[in-house]
């Protein structure tokens, strides 16, 4: 009797085991399956709609078919370049500070605020750039959009630089200082070069992340159906074009939105794959 109960109990436990384990497998299947399905859809659909015109032509007048997004591609490149020029130095230097001089309360505060800034929704950054640049300057511009993106880059740049600098073995620093180098000299000549690859990859990943940001651009760099000369004029950008074209009524716009999505995502994923490859190789070497 007692034995029967025991085995019943055991059977129950074994069943639960089997059911739950297959359930987790099922979860994995659903989660990755759905995600891969929709991305596959994007690649098939976007690739189909891609043409040479897409890269070389300006958008056609509204409602006419044809044309491309050459100005949006260049616009995105300019916005990213600007964001990098502003965001990376601040982020990198901040990261050096946290990694090398960051044991005090002030560093704790900086770290806390960096996390805070990282958590600020991108649309709020858009409002910030609008009140900070667009309103005082009196016009929408590449500058305003680039600034908004740079603010998004800073916190990530800080944390990734800090992380990679910290990963540099203590022995290296001590060695340099034992040879008589000052702390700042040791950082410049030994620590930063040692962390260089990691930091560079961090920047690449960071750029890939902000490349797809749309919300901070809607009311800073606005949009433009022509080329945007210089830095003081509104500019088109790929993410904003996807947004407007996807919601438009024209079939041709939808197709171009797919093509733009394809281009944008291919770039982002390529950067991610390359960066991860570099990082994993580095991890092997350092071990």
């Amino acid at each position: 009797m007692a034995n029967g109960k025991m085995s019943l109990h055991l059977i129950r436990r074994k069943t639960v085991n089997a059911v739950m384990l297959s359930l987790t497998g099922f979860c994995t299947f659903i989660a990755t399956g759905t995600l891969l399905y929709i991305l596959g859809y994007l690649f098939v659909h976007g690739g189909k709609n891609l043409s040479w015109d897409f890269f070389t032509k300006l958008p056609a007048p509204v409602g006419e078919t044809g044309g491309g997004m050459a100005n949006a591609i260049l616009g995105s490149a300019k916005l990213l370049a600007l964001a990098m020029v502003i965001g990376v130095p601040i982020g990198f230097l901040g990261g050096v500070y946290l990694a090398e001089f960051g044991g005090n309360t002030f560093a704790y505060l900086v770290r806390y605020v960096t996390d805070l800034l990282n958590g600020v929704p991108s649309i709020v950054i858009g409002i910030f750039a609008y009140t900070l640049v667009v309103l005082p300057q009196g016009h929408f511009s590449t500058m305003a959009g680039g600034l908004a993106l740079s603010i998004m880059m800073i916190p990530i740049a800080i944390r990734s630089s800090e992380e990679f600098l910290r990963a540099v073995p203590l022995a290296l620093r001590e060695g340099a200082m034992a040879l008589g180098a000052s702390k700042s000299k040791a950082i410049l000549t030994v620590v930063i070069p040692a962390a260089k690859n990691g930091i560079m990859t961090g920047i690449m990943l960071n750029l890939a992340r902000v490349a797809g940001e749309t919300a901070p651009l809607i009311f800073t760099s606005l949009g433009n159906r022509f080329w945007s000369p210089g830095w003081e004029q509104p500019t088109a950008s790929l993410p904003v074009m996807i947004y407007t074209y996807a919601l438009g009524p024209y079939e041709d716009w939808h197709q171009q939105a797919w093509a733009a999505g394809f281009v944008l995502l291919t770039l982002i994923l390529a950067v991610n794959i390359v960066a991860r490859f570099i990082l994993s190789r580095q991890a092997h070497v350092s071990r």
């Binding site: 639960v16 989660a31 130095p89 901040g94 929704p121 991108s122 409002i127 800073i154 982002i268």
Partner: protein, 292 residues
């Protein structure tokens, strides 16, 4: 020295951000006071603005995203960390981490053209199973709180999976071995030993995802339906804070209107800070509990 200046810049930028939001929302804050947060009217003609429908839409879609995302995400993380052969696990994890890099606007694009047609197909079955609840009432137009929640869940699942998987992997293997040696099944060792051990990290990943979902803009704007009403049915269209700012900020006529939108931005900012803060507190709390 230079590095200190850079560190100070972060503080300055963040302080300036809060200051700008605060100053530019002054008009609305003075006119409506705290009642802004609990008023459900949004009437641009009468210049009556209340944040409640947007807060509601934001919270409902985010919670829905968590309800769908947590079981799927944590389940998949357990599978990848505990059960799957290492090769498959690292391959899938690589893919999933790539998915976390997909921008919001692309999820919106897919939401409009792939997900909504899919939801139209499962509307019938959903209604026949859950149609008795107030959550699945009324007509379904495609764009809705439900669509926004589902798109959001897809966006946060990669986060939950990759962080949870890492914390589960970090659980020392003697914990598992001890449980197995005592005669526990694989599932029992995972669920009763490993998961509680990793509880803190999993909760952290969930809160991070929540903060992300709350502030998510583009994908939600494209599928939520843009209707500032408070309706219990998930089939109904709604509106989120981020979505109304994206839609109306550049075009809101009148100072008070703009100011109200900026105050919404301030509310969203505060909301994400509270969630991030809560995540920290919670994580600290659980860590001291499991520590003993």
């Amino acid at each position: 020295m230079v590095t200190l200046v850079a560190a100070l810049t972060i503080l300055a930028v963040t302080a300036l951000l809060v200051y700008e939001l605060y100053v530019h929302s002054a008009l609305s804050r003075h006119k409506f006071g705290w009642s802004f947060l609990v008023t459900r009217t949004w009437d641009p003609v009468a210049e009556q603005f209340g944040a409640l429908p947007f807060i509601y839409g934001t919270v409902v879609t985010s919670v829905l995203a968590l309800l769908l995302g947590i079981p799927l995400g944590v389940g998949a993380a357990i599978f990848l960390a505990e059960l799957a052969p290492p090769k498959i696990s690292s391959g899938l994890t690589f893919l999933i981490e790539l998915l976390a890099a997909v921008p919001s606007v692309i999820f919106g694009l897919l939401g409009v053209f792939v997900l909504i047609p899919m939801l139209h197909k499962i509307e019938g079955p959903l209604r026949s199973v859950l149609g008795w609840t107030p959550l699945f009432q009324g007509p379904f137009y495609g764009v809705s709180l439900l669509s926004a929640g589902v798109v959001l869940s897809l966006m946060i699942i990669p986060f939950i999976i990759s962080i949870s998987r890492e914390v589960i992997l970090a659980v020392p293997s003697d914990q598992r071995e001890a449980a197995l040696a005592l005669g526990a099944t694989r599932w029992e060792s995972t669920w009763d030993v490993v998961v509680p051990y990793a509880y803190k990290g999993i909760t952290g990943s969930i809160f991070l995802s929540l903060a992300r979902a709350l502030g998510e803009t583009m994908a939600v704007t494209m599928v939520i339906g843009n209707d500032p009403k408070i309706v219990t049915s998930l089939f109904a269209p709604g509106y989120s804070i981020a979505a109304i700012i994206a839609n109306e900020f550049a075009e809101a006529p009148g100072e008070l209107y703009t100011s109200a939108l900026i105050e919404l931005g301030l509310v969203l900012f505060a909301l994400t800070i509270v969630v991030n803060g809560a995540a920290r507190l919670l994580v600290a709390g659980t860590s001291s509990k499991t520590g003993t």
